[in-house]
Subunit: 107 residues, 2 copies
DNA sequence: GCGACATATAACCGCATGGTAATGTGTTTC
DNA sequence: GAAACACATTACCATGCGGTTATATGTCGC
């Protein structure tokens, strides 16, 4: 684990891809259903799905002519881990990083 | 607040920019010092700093000929907020989202 | 005011990205 | 096995990005 966090950040920088993840957060969906929600052509959606697959943010489960896409949380967990050391900057804990809070209050 | 999360995701998708944030997490630094850590030309670093400034991830404090860059946590907090609804997918809490866990255990 | 210093901006380049229309591939149905 | 369906891939285009070198801008010391 913990390959690099570049890929997930890049993948999530596109609004359409974030929208797809949002839709898959509710439940698995076939491609056509995603297309119906996305103001994008079917190939456009397939292209985004390929990106999401390649960074491991979604998984596919073929079922006849349908391909059901589902969410994979692992890369998101890596982003969360990346964020961790920064989190104390805004969680009001003033241990060991007070100088940053100082900076904030002068802006 | 809560503009859009696209900008911070895009900004963080570059390793050099993440490295800069990492350096600024310790303390404020002038540009030259960042250049010294970054295998990049000075203009290259300045370009990345501009991007970080525009998305609000850093702030500048001019002091004579130096310009001291510091971290701003707000956009990171927005990312954290964006991640929130997904977080329960990997935190072992099996409330209301068991179907996702089901999916996970079949892979 | 002038040269040195610190940084920003401009101009340029190669490559990746996101979108589309067209086409290919696998599956179902009759 | 042929047509219809669901989806992926290809080919193409315009735009943006990250890098560099060259140059502009502002500040300090004398």
């Amino acid at each position: 684990m913990s390959a690099t966090v570049t890929a997930p950040f890049t993948a999530l920088s596109d609004p359409a891809r974030r929208r797809i993840l949002e839709l898959l957060r509710e439940r698995e969906r076939p491609v056509g259903e995603l297309v119906g929600h996305l103001k994008l052509s079917q190939p456009g959606v397939s292209k985004h799905l390929r990106v999401l697959r390649e960074v491991g943010l979604v998984r596919v489960r073929p079922d006849g002519k349908r391909r059901w896409y589902g969410l994979r949380a692992e890369p998101l967990a890596e982003l969360d881990a990346w964020l961790a050391p920064y989190r104390e900057l805004w969680t009001g804990r003033l241990d060991a990083l007070e100088h940053h809070l100082d900076q904030e209050e002068h802006r």
